[in-house]
Symmetry: C2
Subunit: 305 residues, 2 copies
């Protein structure tokens, strides 16, 4: 790796001319249905099928998008064989030339946080991520171990700021006496870390996760964190449209990557892609990816890329 | 398992007559020094040594304490072999009759949270925890998937409320216009879940992590969450004393378990236990465990047990 993460992501987004990343969320129900497998497989069989499914998705989308976001929970759920499959999926994505954003939402402090960082961001990381999602609840001292190791390896960190779920407001939106929300306080810290690591692209190696399901906060956070990449989940199955994420981009169409998972992964079961059927599911996945790329092109500044 | 988690923990604490749990935080520097190993081992060698160390600790303390708290990061750091070792360490602790609190600080929503819950709390969990730590940042909708699976299996959940690190105040202590801190809002939710699952002991299957390093908040949270077990880290190496955790207990001496890790694990390097040396490190660990049990007995209501 030869450039800071912020610049590497900018280069990949420009090269592919889309901010779309494909979410590898291998829900077992979906994988089992596709491959006609047991709903209660052995962990080893499940891990093997999850690997087959994820590498199949990667092969279908590799020419189209800058990267994938891998959801660790769906691998961890299968125990050690699942975590072994995760390592092989990451390696496959890297061989395909994709950036790999690992969505693990880890968070701890001191030497414990360093241990997590070594697992995903270190020089000998068993699951080498181009960037890792980190949970900020413990406090700003959560970040240093992740950020230090990430920057030394030209990797990145995405801090959860405003998440896409229905009840994210409950604590994230609590406001202090000055009217500043908890998530805005965290955004300030993220912007500081992003600014101090900003490369030629203008973006740093620390970014923020902001849900597509909150378009107003998304636009506000874009302006409050001018040096931070936004990782925007929630497109498709969670209900957000391409128009909802328009505010996530800067005037050049950079500054955000938008994640779409289920609507792409399981497109073979959905209109207008279901005519491909289970046998040609990868074609459905590819077509759904092209659909969302076009949606983002028409309705967001990402179309200027 | 035959009783709800809250009651199982009460039974174990009463039987051992101590609220002390031993923290299995196998820092590699410490393990390598003890066994005279490379500072840069292969993951397989490291995982094997971590397993040997943790089972050695378990064997030294099994007659003394109700349980152990396992820090996942120090296993995950070694990749799939580390996660394999974690499963074997959990099994060893269960065979020794100990409760296993898995400190993984996971947190997500919907089917993703369910996947994490299946990994640690489900009927076929590859890493079967008696209780799992959960990060609340995403919102109350984080909890349901963990709590449902936990309760169905007589397992428990500890939600991070007020953590022990120096900068935990930054966002956890932000107060709204009514003067209620973020961590107190979360405590209210925890108390609801604890109350609705309270068993014969009076305690439920959802508890709270509250750092020993904040004695005032600890005492306040004890009274604000009368049905919630508190898991209290920070004793020893993080600077808290036994007196600091006195406020964590109810009038019977129940309601809290206190975690001590480094001061016990690496006692062979510390006074007054270093005379045992590396060769008899388990004796040092046992003596340090007895030391902290006695400290808690003298200075907290845990001594009434």
């Amino acid at each position: 790796m030869s450039a800071p993460f912020g610049d590497r992501l900018a280069e990949a987004v420009r090269r592919c001319r889309t901010p779309l990343v494909v979410g590898l969320d291998p829900h077992w129900e979906g994988v089992a249905k596709l491959f006609d497998l047991s709903r209660t497989p052995s962990p080893a069989d499940a891990a093997e099928a999850v690997h087959k499914f994820c590498t199949g998705v990667i092969d279908a989308v590799r020419e189209l998008v800058p990267g994938v976001k891998v959801q660790v929970a769906f691998f961890e759920r299968w125990g050690p064989p699942g975590m072994e499959a995760l390592a092989r999926v990451i390696a496959h994505a890297h061989r395909a030339g994709l950036l790999v954003l690992v969505d693990a939402k880890r968070g701890d402090i001191g030497s414990t946080a360093t241990a997590y960082a070594q697992a995903y961001l270190g020089p000998e990381a068993p699951w080498p991520a181009d960037a890792l999602t980190v949970n900020p609840y413990l406090g700003p001292d959560t970040f240093a171990p992740f950020v230090q190791l990430a920057q030394a390896q030209d990797r990145g960190v995405f801090v959860l700021v405003k998440t896409s779920n229905p009840e994210s407001h409950t604590w994230q939106d609590l406001t202090d006496r000055e009217g500043t929300a908890v998530f805005e306080h965290i955004a300030q810290q993220v912007e500081q870390l992003a600014q101090s690591s900003a490369g030629q692209s203008g973006y740093g190696s620390v970014g923020a996760v902001v849900g597509a399901t909150y378009p107003e906060q998304l636009a506000r956070l874009r302006s409050q964190m001018p040096h931070a990449w936004l990782l925007v989940p929630g497109l498709g199955a969670q209900g957000a449209t391409a128009a909802d994420v328009a505010g996530a981009f800067d005037s050049q169409g950079l500054g955000a990557v938008v994640n779409c998972a289920r609507a792409i992964l399981f497109a073979w079961q959905r209109e207008p892609f279901s005519h491909w059927g289970a046998r040609r599911w990868q074609r459905a996945t590819e077509q759904a990816t092209r659909f969302w790329i076009e949606q983002l092109r028409q309705r967001t500044p990402g179309g200027k890329l």
